[in-house]
């Protein structure tokens, strides 16, 4: 039992299938680990131990009966708390949803459960996925398992920390501007944001609808491909869900990058990038070159405009998406307000935290009469230019390689005092969301303080397989050293 926690999700799935462990033992091991580490890490908002064990027993029966045969059957999974789970509290780490129990599950969760994965609970996050540190949660901060004085990143910080602390075998996160890739990088795990439309958004509580995607946080690239293959689906309930034929992502787990063209944007390695992050990321490029890839530096256009474009679009959409939280149908309602508009204002002002309010205010402003053209439409035009810049790059390269974040995980309490500075930290991740591209974060070493560093690989739309192949090749080669 002692080493069960060190297994990857796919290894555990195999071991359960082989009868070496049961799904219940796996769940019990995770729950024991949670008892040990959760007090420090605080990766979860909600854990239902009894239900988790009961569901694990059910999965075990089906595995034994031969009804569940997939690679994730019986494997315990943690779900970010912005995905609806039927009968299980879903808060978005906000006070305004502190009592919200969904009556249906997100499509991605349903796909996992169909494959036999067993939900442990819901992971902590920045409130409504707005933040880069998981410090804006109403339910307290999550700490980085690699060093509890540091943040785990965000917004899927709870999911990344749960994987890193072995409090689950894998987790789902969501990524609107880097919210899977950045915490994966900070916590030393693998995280992938798929091409927009690959995973259904049905049941994902929206932040920026045109940017949000669900993806895996996990221990290695094999798990990553396997999980993505399981959760990717064309969902008629999500109008932006894409019909894809090529979702057999595990086929791309091939150690071979010969002839692969890799572009390195010069501007990703300029001022503000931590030296040891830069060195670690460039070392990955060297390694892949050594393995036969063609690596070249190039100029990626419009990089500096990605952040203002992103915050204009994401906050505008968020201001509208979050209007439904009004104290009428579900969630928190301020008690002592008997006039309608007072009730709205009090419920929302008491229910939302400062970062959420900040973004709602900005989003409402840029859409308001007289500013729509100058701000919102302008941002949509720049978005088109950013997409074009990537199209040009992918005409030449198979993947783009760079850092995930300018630094390793900052210390707790250092980021929120200067939101603008925090936003600047998203520079390498957000343009990927604006252009709808897939991106993966893979661990590539540690800094001088022992904090993990991640390398980001970005692919063209629908080119997850190229990302998986490059990431897998690097991962395998790094193991050999």
């Amino acid at each position: 039992m002692s080493d069960i926690l060190s297994l990857t999700a796919v290894e555990l799935g195999k071991a359960i299938k082989a009868g070496e462990y049961t799904a219940v033992q796996a769940m019990q091991a995770v729950l024991d680990q949670i008892d040990k580490t959760e007090e420090t890490v605080h990766a979860y908002v909600t854990i239902d131990k009894e239900a988790a064990l009961a569901k694990a027993a059910e999965a075990q029966k089906k595995i034994e009966a031969g009804e569940l045969t997939g690679p994730l059957a019986g494997v315990p999974v943690a779900i970010k708390d912005n995905m609806c789970t039927e009968g299980m509290l879903t808060t978005c780490s906000s006070k305004i949803l502190s009592n919200f129990v969904p009556t249906f599950s997100s499509e991605a969760v349903i796909n996992l459960e169909k494959a036999g994965a067993v939900v442990i609970g819901k992971t902590n996050m920045d409130e409504f996925a707005m933040g880069s540190t998981t410090e804006t949660s109403y339910y307290g901060v999550t700490r980085n398992p690699r060093n509890p004085e540091h943040v785990p990143g965000g917004s899927s910080g709870g999911s990344a920390a749960a994987v890193a602390a072995q409090e689950c075998f894998f987790a789902l996160g969501s990524d609107t501007g880097g919210s899977i890739r950045q915490p994966a990088s900070y916590c030393g795990v693998v995280g992938l944001k798929p091409t927009y439309g690959t995973v259904s958004r049905y049941g994902l509580i929206a932040y920026g609808s045109s940017l949000d995607q669900i993806g895996p946080l996990c221990k290695d690239v094999t798990d990553c491909a396997t999980i993505l293959e399981t959760i990717a689906s064309h969902d008629p309930k999500d109008s932006t869900s894409m019909k894809r034929e090529d979702t057999n992502f595990t086929e791309a787990l091939v150690k071979d990058v010969k002839g692969m063209k890799i572009g390195i944007p010069k501007s990703y390695f300029g001022e503000g990038l931590q030296e040891d992050v830069k060195a670690a990321v460039l070392a990955v490029a060297d390694k892949l070159k050594e393995l036969g890839a063609e690596v070249e530096e190039f100029d990626l256009a419009h990089v500096k405009y990605a952040i203002p474009t992103y915050y204009t679009i994401a906050d505008a959409e968020a201001s509208s998406n979050l209007e439904r939280f009004d104290g009428v149908k579900y969630g928190y309602r301020a008690q002592d307000a008997d006039e309608l508009h007072r009730m709205y204002k009090k419920s929302r002002s008491e229910g939302f935290g400062p970062e959420v309010k900040r973004r709602i205010m900005l989003g409402s402003f840029v859409l308001s009469s007289g500013y729509y053209d100058a701000y919102y439409l302008k941002a949509l035009r720049v978005k088109a230019l950013i997409k074009k810049a990537f199209d040009d790059a992918f005409a030449k390269y198979d993947i783009i390689l760079g850092p995930v974040a300018p630094t390793t995980a900052p210390k707790l309490g250092c980021s929120l005092s200067n939101p603008m500075q925090m936003y600047l930290g998203d520079i390498y991740t957000i343009s990927v969301n604006l252009a709808g591209l897939p991106g993966i974060s893979v661990p590539c070493g540690t800094d001088s303080n022992g904090l993990p560093i991640g390398v980001q690989m970005i692919g063209d739309c629908f080119a997850e397989k190229k990302l998986i192949r490059a990431a897998y090749t690097y991962e395998q080669a790094a193991k050999e050293v």
């Binding site: 609808s209 149908k329 508009h341 919102y376």
Partner: protein, 480 residues
């Protein structure tokens, strides 16, 4: 000399489309369910739910647009209109601002006093309806029912081309007729499946510039619309005459008090922050799709009028009434197809049907009897199986309950007695019993025969054919 004023009116007409399901989810649009029984996560704005567009909504909107001479916007999309209100579960309404599905149309109207003109349509857009709010006296609070939330609407926005209540009514009648013919909506004002907001301003006759307009809401009958237009016109003229300014605002019409009052508070900034809905993809309408919808367009009233004249040779007035509504025209055509006698069908519709509609306050769109039953009735009269007074009695039943006339006549024993022997015997008895009338008849009082016919019908309990009675009676009298 008193100044003369002209009223300038534009209309925003909301029409609930006749789809089976809501615009963005698979919930039923049926009327009258218990509160919130036709709802789901999508139409109640549950976190994580997403809209998917009902294709039929696009087809109906296109059909209405084509029938009102609009250009179809071949690349159109939905926008979010953001405002907080409890009947609006997401606190944004999915609507169309930037690229509405239809633009630049017109309908030709003719008023009762004979004014003919074209009213231009600025645009038609698709959107979702809101839920219903009920005031709860006991709690001094409101209750929300989302059954109507997400029911598909089209909003037809006219240009300010109307100058009187009469023109407004003619325009609405024309829209209603067109949309009913298309089957896109039943357009019932009382039930709210057709609603009109009136934009009105006044100006001195001869001036070019429009006055400041107000928007009137809550108009749910033609009568209310007429009253509201008169009331608002007078209110604005009074203000101007007193040297005061008309304020651009939305007003609510109270038809019972016959007055309007402003609707908005400080909390309604009327800044809707429209932006393209990221949850829905654009709609591309190909030329082929437009052609398909055009081809599926049914025959409309003006074409029917011409055809009826040629094919059935009915009086213009009758044709006007019958083609006035789709339901009437359908009953006419289907009944005629079965019984092959357009004149008789027309007589039943123009006579008994209109009489009963008036008596019972039934609108043409609510006519619910089946053409088969009317055709059967006509056939029974033709075959003299029943006489006309029995037929009228049976038709009342058909009109009210859509009974099967053949079974009904059988069951109630209403068939005309065709046994000539029995009839002759009865007549001989009547003649014997009424010597005075016989004498009067013989004396040249033709009228006296009426009394004898009546007595015979009475003795036969109404089931004799009056023609036969007359004939035999004359024979018997001749023999006297």
């Amino acid at each position: 000399m008193a100044k003369e004023y002209e009223t300038v009116i534009g209309l925003e007409v909301h029409v609930e489309l006749a789809t089976k399901t809501k615009i963005f989810c698979g919930c039923s649009t049926a009327f009258g369910g218990a509160p919130n029984t036709h709802t789901c996560p999508v139409c109640t704005g549950m976190p994580g739910s997403l809209p998917v567009l009902n294709k039929q909504v696009v087809e109906y909107a296109m059909a209405v647009g084509l029938a009102t001479n609009c250009d179809i916007t071949q690349n159109c999309k939905f926008d979010r209109k953001n405002y907080f209100y409890p009947d609006n579960p997401q606190n944004y309404q999915i609507s169309q601002l930037y690229l509405p599905i239809c633009r630049n149309g017109h309908v030709d109207i003719e008023t009762e006093s004979g004014v003919k003109k074209a009213v231009r349509i600025h645009e038609i857009h698709m959107e979702e309806d809101a839920g219903k709010l009920v005031h709860d006296e006991w709690e001094d609070a409101s209750l929300v029912d989302y059954n109507r939330s997400g029911v598909p609407l089209i909003e037809i926005v006219s240009e300010p081309d109307m100058r009187s209540a009469e023109e407004v009514i003619a325009y609405l009648e024309k829209l209603r007729q067109t949309i009913q013919y298309l089957g896109a909506s039943d357009c019932k004002l009382q039930e709210g499946s057709m609603r009109a907001d009136v934009n009105l301003s006044v100006r001195e006759v001869g001036t070019e510039k429009f006055g400041t307009r107000t928007e009137m809401k809550n108009l749910n009958s033609f009568r209310a619309i007429q009253h509201a237009i008169e009331g608002e016109k007078n209110r604005q003229i009074d203000l101007i005459e007193e040297g005061k300014a008309v304020v651009q605002e939305t007003r609510r019409w109270d038809d019972n008090k016959a007055e309007s009052y402003p609707m908005r508070s400080k909390e309604d900034a009327q800044d809707y922050r429209y932006f393209p809905d990221p949850d829905l993809v654009p709609i591309h309408i190909s030329d082929e799709w437009i052609e398909r919808v055009k081809a599926a367009q049914p025959e409309m009233a003006p074409e029917k009028k011409i055809r009826y004249k040629e094919e059935f040779d009915l009086p213009d007035y009758d044709i006007g009434i019958i083609t006035g509504t789709k339901q009437m025209a359908d009953i006419f055509e289907e009944t005629t197809a079965i019984c092959g006698n357009p004149k008789k069908v027309s007589n039943w519709l123009m006579g008994e049907t209109l009489r009963l509609m008036k008596e019972t306050g039934t609108d043409p769109e609510d006519l619910s009897f089946s053409p088969k039953h009317l055709a059967d009735l006509i056939a029974m009269v033709d075959k003299k199986e029943i006489n006309s007074s029995v037929a009228k009695e049976v038709f009342e039943k058909i009109f009210a309950e859509d009974i099967d006339p053949v079974a009904y006549v059988d069951e109630k024993g209403l068939k005309t007695v065709n046994d000539e022997g029995a009839l002759r015997k009865t007549i001989e008895e009547i003649v014997a019993a009424n010597p005075q009338s016989v004498a009067d008849f013989k004396g040249g009082k033709e009228k006296a025969i009426g009394f004898l016919v009546g007595q015979t019908m009475k003795a036969m309990k109404g089931k004799a054919d009056p023609g036969s009675v007359n004939e035999i009676l004359r024979e018997v009298l001749a023999q006297q």
